[in-house]
């Protein structure tokens, strides 16, 4: 349902994003994983049409057959909220501190539907219940600062799904929250996605969290998708060296449903650090940090598919090119 093709984003002559192909099937949950500076948030913004004015975008962001990049501001506004919902990282800052909860949650409803008055209030109360907030009626007239971080994020989610979108894009929704609350929010997202048949694009730096939530994953580095496909296949048999390094930095990657084993670890022991924008090497962008790089890596690797569910771009894959 969501398909990115030849998406290029440049800011100030620096190429921030260069994605040849990325697809999200209807009903599935795709995790977009990368370190900070990898371009994952920019990709989400590009889909939303919320890039800064200086950014130049080209390519296709096909949503249900329509290229969002060709739409003007007004048409995009009709898509946002109604067909694509967004949850951002820091709920404290993403909610208007001077506006009541009910007004913010109902915003998408009031924009995209004809509902008014009591009908809207009823829907908002119901939404708050769906995100598992206690005593929703009392919350309606509250202000964001009266809620805890976890509650605020639930409100954000309620506001994002208010107009029943088909796709929900969540950018690091739990990063700013306490670890104890993270699991609840993630489980909430999973259940909402399943109940509403809503696709989920989950952006995160934490491979463990992504493993918990998603069934598909795409690994992004330096604005390029380096590996994508079915999550089990990638986790168990990573091909791109960067993916392998990520997993190596996350020892004991469990395969069951026990969340406590997934508690996010920061990506630590990959030698070097992500280069600043504009300072990536030519060809494979990871080659200056890769132990297995060779001269061949100065040319951009082509796409190899070790299975229909598993694509990668690497000249020296970890599994030797077999699935």
């Amino acid at each position: 349902m969501l398909n990115l093709r030849n998406l290029r984003v440049t800011i100030d002559d620096y190429e921030i994003i260069n994605i040849d192909e990325l697809t999200l099937q209807a009903g599935s949950r795709l995790g977009l994983v990368g370190e900070s500076g990898s371009g994952k948030t920019m990709t989400a913004k590009a889909i939303a049409g919320l890039l800064p004015n200086e950014a130049k975008v080209s390519g296709e962001v096909n949503f249900d057959g329509q290229n969002l990049l060709t739409l003007g501001d007004r048409e995009l506004a009709k898509v946002r909220g109604k067909r694509i919902g967004f949850v951002f990282q820091d709920p404290a800052r993403s909610l208007n501190p001077m506006m009541r909860i009910s007004k913010q949650v109902s915003e998408a409803i009031r924009i995209h539907t004809d509902l008014k008055g009591k009908a809207v209030t009823a829907k908002v109360t119901d939404l708050l219940r769906q995100v598992q907030l206690p005593e929703p009626e009392t919350l309606l007239r509250r202000y964001p600062h009266q809620l805890s971080g976890g509650q605020q994020q639930r409100v954000m989610i309620a506001a994002a799904i208010a107009a029943d979108p088909d796709l929900l894009i969540a950018d690091e929704p739990t990063t700013a929250l306490d670890v104890t609350v993270q699991e609840e929010i993630l489980r909430l997202l999973i259940s909402l996605s399943e109940q509403r048949k809503m696709s989920l694009l989950f952006v995160s730096h934490d491979l463990g969290v992504v493993r918990f939530v998603c069934n598909q994953v795409a690994v992004i580095y330096g604005g390029n998708i380096v590996e994508a496909g079915d999550i089990d296949s990638i986790i168990n048999r990573p091909q791109h060296r960067y993916t392998a390094a990520l997993l190596a930095a996350n020892p004991g990657m469990p395969k069951d449903d026990n969340f406590s084993a997934f508690i996010g670890r920061r990506l630590q022991t990959i030698t070097g650090s992500v280069p600043a924008v504009g300072r990536f090497p030519s060809g494979c962008r990871f080659r200056n940090r890769c132990q297995h790089a060779s001269d061949k890596c100065a040319t951009t690797p082509s796409v190899t598919a070790s299975s229909p569910e598993h694509r990668y771009l690497c000249w020296h894959p970890a599994q030797g090119g077999q699935s």
């Binding site: 939303a48 919320l50 004015n53 501001d73 007004r74 506004a77 009709k78 898509v79 946002r80 909220g81 109604k82 919902g85 967004f86 951002f88 820091d90 800052r93 993403s94 909610l95 208007n96 501190p97 001077m98 506006m99 913010q104 915003e107 998408a108 924009i111 995209h112 202000y143 600062h145 009266q146 954000m156 506001a159 994002a160 208010a162 107009a163």
Partner: protein
């Protein structure tokens, strides 16, 4: 809420007291003796001692100060030595024109600035927004008295549409009264509107960069819609504080404008008194003007407490 109000009240009283002492001490201690300043250095000793008696200058300093403060409350501020008018009465009489001018300035400049500033912020990247920016940039460099002179030249002398000066109380003849006020208010508002518009613009641009604006747009608001519905509301609060700062500028402008348009207000009075070296008159006038500004600021402070939900609730939450 209550704590906030009390704190503002305390600030008001404290500052007013400090200000009054400052004015008082400044005027007594700085430069020469009040009497000498007024009568001149070669004044006859008899005149000098008479004036000292009359002005109560032979009493201890603290007594003089307290008498003065008491006088403000009871309405007895003494007389102008040079012109003989009762200071308090004159003050009250001249309040009308100055208030009309100042309030007129407020009524014109605040809404205008809000509209222009928001417009300029929303269109910040387009030519339209920049034009407003340029106009206000020039506007803050134009002195109010020059604007007044220009207006008089064009609209009064050349075109004859409006009168060159004078004042009629609103009660006597509303239409004519307003007609006489148009040019002065415009001259006064030019600078204040420009300054305020620039503040509004900056505040709106800042707000529009906030994360919750992004959230609003993510729910389907257009840029303009988000700016108007979320931005204005949030920006108004810091703007209210800034608006308070403009009161001082408005009064300062009123002083000058009154002189250009010959309006019988407090501004003209204090200038005349200053030129006549009437320290006693200036002392009281300056303090009263200062008090008016402080009270206005106090009112704005309270309003601020009402508007910002975070302040409203902080007290309740901590109770």
């Amino acid at each position: 809420m209550l704590k906030h109000t009390l704190r503002s009240l305390f600030t008001l009283i404290f500052t007013a007291l400090v200000g009054s002492i400052a004015v008082f001490v400044l005027l007594r201690q700085l430069g020469g003796d009040i009497v000498t300043v007024f009568l001149g250095r070669d004044a006859a000793p008899i005149d000098v001692s008479y004036m000292r008696e009359k002005l109560g200058l032979n009493e201890p300093l603290v007594m003089q100060y307290l008498n003065w403060l008491g006088g403000i409350v009871t309405g007895d501020l003494g007389e102008s030595y040079g012109m003989g008018y009762d200071i308090f009465d004159e003050l009250v009489r001249r309040l009308g024109p100055t208030l009309m001018l100042t309030i007129g300035g407020l009524i014109v400049s605040i809404p205008l600035a809000l509209v222009l500033g928001t417009y300029s912020a929303i269109n910040a990247k387009k030519v339209r927004g920049s034009i407003v920016d340029i106009i206000t940039q020039v506007g803050i460099a134009v002195p109010a008295f020059w604007a007044g002179l220009l207006f008089v030249l064009f609209f009064a002398v050349r075109l004859g549409w409006l009168p060159t000066g004078g004042y009629i109380p609103f009660r006597e003849d509303p239409v004519k009264s307003i007609r006489l006020m148009i040019l002065p208010v415009c001259a006064l508002s030019l600078g204040v509107t420009s300054v305020f518009t620039r503040y509004v613009r900056t505040a709106m641009i800042d707000v529009m960069n906030e994360d919750f604006m992004r959230s609003a747009m993510a729910r389907g608001r257009s840029r303009r819609g988000a700016a108007l519905l979320h931005g204005v509301r949030n920006a108004s609060i810091p703007l209210v504080t800034v608006a308070a700062l403009q009161f001082g500028q408005l009064i300062a402008g009123a002083v000058v404008v009154e002189n250009v348009f010959v309006l019988p207000g407090i501004g003209r009075l204090i200038v005349t008194a200053t030129l006549g070296r009437e320290v006693v008159v200036v002392q009281s006038l300056a303090f009263v003007i200062m008090l008016i500004i402080l009270i206005l600021n106090f009112l704005v402070d309270i309003a601020y407490g009402f508007l910002d939900p975070r302040i409203r609730d902080k007290e309740a939450a901590n109770a």
